[in-house]
């Protein structure tokens, strides 16, 4: 960047020279208890690879934690899924996870190695870490992106649906590095796993943590029982909307979902009516699902809803209004009252399941 441009910028931000920044980072998220890396971090290796190839640079994973074995396994997974190198920051002082400590450590690491791009998954953890890291680095950040590209000047294009899910905004950070974004879980496919891929694992030294002291101390944790698969991980999702209307209706959807080995979800109207909890809401302000089969029952198909089903393989809609927009977003639609169709569907599937049981 030319010096003149720098003078136009906020002096408190400092000045960064894009040519000094190389490499695309994916900050990996560990599930400490399971000792595994989050699927959503692996998904990010897909856009990271694409951006790195377009920029003629490499992909690096970044991992932080206190369990050596888990970090080692996670680093290998990142390499099998496309990372060229993984930087691991391992320390007892990273126990337990602490947002401020982790964010500051990531920012320090970025200051040392100067990546041009830093991606986080927009999980609960990613959403609390990424903006703190960005601010520490005095750079911009774009939340919840669903697409990425590179423009002709080599800037990262961060694409997200703002406001109403009908539009896409293209955002870039032309004058600052790194360019940072969080990406929405389940919109990018996990790259294929290839155990023959080789990459470098770099164990960083603890000096990166110097002087960083936790000011929030975890006192205790209570695990919440979770019996079912979360909707964002389910292969079969049966979703109900206002058209289903009642708890009895949702119990029938539950029966259908059980027959398929899947889960029930809902539209925001269903959540507002108290028919389903918010964590099972599909859409812009809920979750994106990537089911093999998505069955929308009594859902009109508002833009803010269907944005959450873009990655589903087959979409079925049952709605009594032939004009309902959901039919434009479905592969197979049935115009009918769901009360006439769903019981029959359950019956038929039960027969099929029994037949297979006999075979």
């Amino acid at each position: 960047m030319a010096a003149v441009e720098c003078e136009k910028l906020c002096p408190e931000w400092g000045c960064t020279d894009p040519s000094e920044y190389r490499g695309v980072w994916v900050v990996g998220e560990l599930d400490e208890e399971a000792g595994t890396i989050s699927e959503y971090s692996l998904q990010l290796l897909t856009p990271a690879r694409m951006v790195a190839d377009k920029r003629g640079t490499w992909v690096e994973g970044v991992l932080l934690g206190y369990d050596r074995g888990a970090l080692e396994r996670a680093a290998r997974e990142m390499i099998y899924h496309g990372a060229d190198r993984v930087r691991v920051l391992y320390s007892e002082r990273l126990k337990p996870y602490n947002a401020e400590v982790y964010a500051k450590a990531i920012a320090r690491t970025a200051e040392r190695y100067k990546p041009e791009v830093v991606f986080f998954a927009a999980t609960m953890r990613g959403r609390e870490l990424a903006p703190y890291v960005a601010n520490t680095l005095r750079t911009g950040i774009t939340a919840d992106c669903t697409q990425f590209d590179v423009d002709k000047d080599g800037n990262l294009l961060m694409i997200r649906p703002p406001f109403a899910a009908i539009l896409l905004a293209y955002i870039k950070t032309p004058n600052r590095r790194p360019q940072m974004a969080t990406a929405r879980p389940n919109v990018f496919p996990t790259p294929p796993r290839d155990e023959s891929r080789r990459g470098e694992v770099v164990w960083e030294d603890e000096s990166l943590l110097e002087g960083i002291r936790p000011r929030a101390r975890l006192l205790k944790v209570r695990r919440l029982e979770r019996r079912e698969t979360p909707i964002e991980k389910a292969e079969y999702v049966v979703a109900g909307g206002r058209g289903v209307g009642t708890p009895e209706g949702f119990r029938m959807l539950e029966e259908l979902a059980n027959l398929l080995g899947g889960v029930v979800a809902g539209s925001r109207k269903a959540v507002d009516l108290g028919l389903i909890p918010h964590e099972k809401q599909v859409g812009q302000t809920g979750k994106s699902v990537r089911a093999k089969l998505y069955i929308a029952v009594g859902i009109s198909g508002a833009a803010q809803h269907v944005i959450g089903i873009r990655e589903c393989r087959v979409v079925v809609a049952i709605n009594k209004d032939p004009e309902a927009p959901i039919f434009r977003h479905a592969d197979y639609g049935i115009v009918a009252d769901w009360k006439d169709v769903v019981p029959l569907l359950i019956q038929e599937l039960r027969k099929l399941a029994a037949e297979r049981g006999r075979r």
């Binding site: 906020c10 002096p11 609960m124 609390e128 870490l129 990424a130 903006p131 703190y132 960005a134 601010n135 911009g140 950040i141 939340a143 649906p161 703002p162 406001f163 109403a164 899910a165 539009l167 896409l168 905004a169 293209y170 955002i171 870039k172 950070t173 000011r215 929030a216 101390r217 975890l218 006192l219 205790k220 944790v221 209570r222 695990r223 919440l224 979360p230 398929l260 918010h278 302000t285 089969l293 833009a303 393989r313 979409v315 079925v316 032939p322 434009r328 977003h329 479905a330 592969d331 197979y332 639609g333 049935i334 009918a336 006439d340 029959l344 569907l345 038929e348 599937l349 099929l352 037949e355």
Partner: protein, 266 residues
């Protein structure tokens, strides 16, 4: 005694924004603005703490002058003091430049125990501002907070809810917290409070003459991110086959199709 700062945003009621498929435009005219609903959780938590410990709640908002209405609304809920941070040079700010102005305004307020924000806004839903303000002021921060269970002696115990667990943190004060969505039941506005807020012109307005920030660091100029263009979201290609008729036939048809697709588990 506690001193709590709460950040609120005045946003278009996105529920009321409609799409005109004929002209292919968003209908925003006449769309009323509201206080970001998730910020009412923050206001309620702040008021609860003040009611419990005594002290003062100060609401701040960076916005155009029309947001005075939003601040009057929270004065109506019982907030003690409300400040609108408003200046042409602040316009067009991204989250970095917004949080910079908010952090500097908060600094001017002197000492405080907590800054409470909502989880996210319904118009931009970035959830950036709380962490960014914490970063500017170098304060500890906790997201997804459902409640503050203890407060005093320079520390607080907060409870936060994640997808699969509940965590309790002891946090040094001052600190920043972002409330979990739907975690409070915001109290209603009291008409007498609101009326008083209006007639006494209780909302203070701070422009950049008050804050004295470098114009290169605020608004559009201070924003590292740039929106380069906005397009329509492309539709996912779907088969769009629709069956109308007898439900029995419909179900047969559907099962046949799902078989062909190979998506049935049996």
């Amino acid at each position: 005694m506690v001193r709590v700062v709460v950040g609120i945003k005045w946003v278009p009621n996105t529920q009321a924004v409609r799409f005109d498929p004929k002209t292919g435009t968003l209908i925003r005219e006449g769309v009323p603005s509201i206080v970001n609903p998730h910020d009412l959780d923050a206001v309620e938590l702040a008021l609860k703490l003040r009611d419990r410990y005594g002290g003062e709640v100060i609401a701040i908002s960076m916005a155009p002058p029309s947001a005075i209405k939003g601040l009057e609304h929270v004065l109506g809920m019982g907030v003690d003091r409300a400040i609108l941070i408003s200046d042409r040079v602040f316009a067009g700010a991204d989250t970095l430049a917004t949080s910079y102005v908010l952090a500097n305004a908060i600094r001017r307020l002197g000492s405080f125990d907590l800054i409470i924000f909502g989880q996210e806004t319904i118009d931009s839903s970035t959830a950036h501002i709380p962490a960014q303000v914490a970063s500017w002021l170098d304060l500890p921060y906790v997201y997804y907070v459902e409640d503050v269970e203890e407060l005093g002696g320079g520390r607080a115990v907060v409870r936060r809810r994640l997808e699969d667990r509940i965590e309790w943190y002891e946090i040094e004060l001052p600190a920043v917290i972002a409330t979990a969505m739907h975690s409070q039941q915001p109290r209603p506005v009291r008409l007498s409070y609101k009326l008083r807020a209006k007639t006494e012109r209780r909302v203070e307005v701070w422009d950049n003459k008050v804050l004295g920030l470098d114009e290169r660091c605020v608004g559009l100029r201070g924003s590292p991110t740039v929106v380069t263009k906005v397009t329509w979201m492309p539709e996912v290609p779907r088969k769009r086959q629709v069956f109308r008729g007898d439900p029995r036939e419909a179900v047969k048809w559907l099962i046949e199709k799902l078989r062909e697709e190979g998506v049935l588990p049996y």
